[in-house]
Amino acid sequence: MGDLAPLAIAVPMTTAALLVGTSWLIPRRVVDVASLAAASASAVLCAFLLHEASKGRIVYWFGGWEPRHGVAIGVSFTIDQLSASLGLFCALLFVTAFVFSWRYFVVVGPLFHALMLVFLAGMLGFGYTGDLFNLFVFFELMSVAAYALVAYDIEEEGPLQGALNFAVTNTIGAFFILIGIALLYGRTGALNMAQIGATLAGHSPDGLVIVSFTLIAVGFLVKAAVVPFHFWLADAYSVAPTPVCLLLSAAMSELGLYALARVYWTVFSGVLDPGDPGLQAVLVGVGTLTALLGGAMCFGQRHLKRMLAFATVSHVGLFLIGLGLFDAAGLAGTALFVVADGCVKAALFVSVGVIQHLRENVDELRLRGRGRELKLTGPLFAICALGVASLPPFGPFFGKTLVESAATDAGLWWVSIVFLLSSALTGGALLRAAGRVFLGLGPVRDPLAGDEPSPDETDPELDYRHDRVPRTMTVPALALAVAGLGLSLVPGIGHRAERAAAQFVDRSAYAASVLHGATGAPPVQVATHSVDAMGVAVGVGSVLVAVALAGAALLRGRLRGSALVSVEDAAGAFLGRLRALHSGLVADYVAWLTVGTALLAALFAATLST
C-alpha cells in the first residue's frame, strides 16, 4: 500500500501536463471533469495512505535506493499519521475548490486547472517528503504554482501587485531556506532529515546550527505569514480568485508551519533542546504578536477578503504558539485546530465568493444590507463567524482549548488570554460584517474599518450579474462548514491526534524507521487531554467579547456621546496607523523581512548559544 505514495503526486502532475499538452483539443467541461477526477483520485490515495500510516510510518525510497550503513543515498517519502492527515485534508480542499470553480469563471482555459493540479502535487510532496532538499523543491513547486494562480485574473486591477509582493518576498524566503540547507549539508554531508538529525544530535549548538535553524525558520515563517513577514499575505489573498484564496488560507500557510515543526523535530530537536526556555519564548512571543496584530488588522478591514486574510494571519499566530510549546500535547491541539479552522475559513471564503458572484463587490460597507436575500449564505457565514470566535463545542474551539491546556501545563497561563483576544477580534470582525451585509445593521460609515476608498471597488472576477447561486457553490460551503465545525464531534479524534503528535515528536523512532527500517507504529499509550471547565469559560468568554465588539461597531450611532466614542477614536487612529504600515510596497516588505530576520537572528543567537 505504501507504493501508492508516488501515485498521489504523479496523478495530478500527469493530468496537468496532459491538459496543457492537448489544450487545443479538449473542451472546457472535459477539463473540469478531468481535474476534478484527478483531485478526487489523489484524495482517495491520500485516504489509503492515512489508513496505512496509522499502522506504522510509511517509508518509501524512490528508485529503491535504500540507505546503506545509515547513509541515505536516495530520497524518501516518510509518511506518518500527521503528514498523511494533512495530505488528505489538502486533497479534499482541492476537491471542494474544483467543485466551486465549476461555475465560477466565465472563461477559463486549462491553464487554471493545470496550475491547481500542480499546486496540489506540490503540497502533497511537501507534506510527505523526508528529505530536506526535496522539501525545498516541493516548497518552490507549491510557491511557483501559487504565484501564477494569484495573478490569474489579469483582467483586473489588483492581482499583479499582490502577486508581485507575494512572489518577491517568498522567493527570498525560499532562498534563505536553501542557504540553511546548504549549511546543514556542509556540516553533516546529508540531506535526509533523519540522517542530519542523527548526525547533529548530542552536540551543543554552535553558530552554524543556530544560523541554519534561523534561516530555515524564517523561510517557513514567510510562507506562513508570521509577523513581520506577513505583509504579502493580505495583498495576495485580497486579489486571488476565491478558489485559490480558499487553498492559500486553509492549507498553504499551515503547511509552512507544518514544515517548521517537521524540520525542527526531525533535524534540530537533538541539538536544540525542546525544553529550552529561550526557544519556546521566542516562538510563543512571535506567535502572540502575530495573533494580536492580525486580529487588530482583521477588525480594521472592510474588504471582506482582506478581513479573512488577516484572520488567517491571526490564527497562524495561534498555531505558532501551539507549535512553540514544543510538546506533543500542543502539537496535537494545533493539528486539530488547523484542520477545523482551515475548513471554517474555507467555508467563509466560499461564502464571500458567493456574495461576490451575486453582488460583484466584496466591500463590507458597500454591501450593507445587500445580502438580505441570501437565506442560506447569511446564516452559514454567521455560524462560521461564531465558530471562529471559538464557540463550544465546535471544531475550532476544541483545537484551541487543547492548545490552551497544554500551554497552562507548560506554565504559560496567559496564552489563554491571547487566544481569547485573537478569537474575539477575528470573530467580532466577521460577526460585524455578517450583521452589516446580511441584516443591514450599522451605519454606512465606519472609522474603525477605514474611510479611505477601498482600492478594489470594482468586481475583481466577473463582469456580469447573476441572480442565482449555483449549487456547485453552496454545497462546498456547507460541506466545509459541517466538516470544520463538526470535527470535534468525531469520536476519539482527540486521542488520535495525540497519538499522531506523539509519533511526530519522537526523533529517534523516526530515524530508526527511516535509516534502519524499523517499523514505526504510533504509540498506543499517550496522555489524553480533554476539554475542561476553564477551556469552556475561555471559549464562551471570547464569543461574548466578539459579540460585544461587533455590537459596539454596529450600534455606534446610538452610542454617541458616551465614553465609548473616545475609545473608538483612539482605536480608529491606531488601526489607521497599522494600515499605513501595510503600504503595498514590495521594497518595504523586503526591508521588513530583513529586519525580521536580523531580529529573530539576534534573539536566537542570544538565547540559544551557550
Binding site: 501564477a148 542557504i179 549539508y185 503595498g584 521594497a587
Partner: protein
C-alpha cells in the same frame, strides 16, 4: 583565503537585497533578486569543493580518484533552473504591470497612488 568564497556569497546576498530594497524599476528589482539567488549557487558549490580533486565524471579518470562532491552540483543545477523560471515569471508580471499602469516604478504602482 579559505573563507573567501563564503564571505563573497554573504556580500552578494546583502548587496542584492539592497538592490531590491532601493529599486525604482521592477525589471531592475527582478534582476537584483536573481543576483541574490546566485549566492546560493556559490555557497553550494563552495561547500562541495575539494582541493586537488577532479570533477565527478569518470569517463576518462578511474573510479576512486579524489573527486569533488557531485550532490551539491546536482542541487545547484536544480537551483539554477528554479531560479530562472521564477525570474521569468516575475518578469512577465512586471511586463503586465507596465501594460496595465504604464510604469515600472513600484512607488507609483502602489494602490493609493495609481489613481488619477
Amino acid at each position: 583565503m579559505s573563507f573567501l568564497p563564503y564571505a563573497v556569497a554573504a556580500w552578494i546576498v546583502v548587496i542584492g537585497l539592497y538592490g531590491v530594497v532601493t529599486s525604482r524599476n521592477l525589471v531592475h528589482l527582478v534582476t537584483c533578486l536573481a543576483v541574490v539567488q546566485s549566492a546560493s549557487y556559490l555557497v553550494l558549490l563552495s561547500i562541495g569543493y575539494k582541493k586537488d580533486a577532479v570533477a565527478p565524471i569518470f569517463d576518462t579518470v578511474r573510479v576512486g580518484t579524489r573527486a569533488v562532491d557531485p550532490v551539491v552540483q546536482a542541487l545547484t543545477l536544480a537551483d539554477v533552473v528554479v531560479g530562472v523560471t521564477v525570474t521569468a515569471l516575475l518578469l512577465s508580471l512586471a511586463v503586465q504591470a507596465h501594460k496595465r499602469y504604464g510604469t515600472l516604478d513600484p512607488e507609483k504602482l502602489r494602490p493609493g497612488s495609481r489613481r488619477g
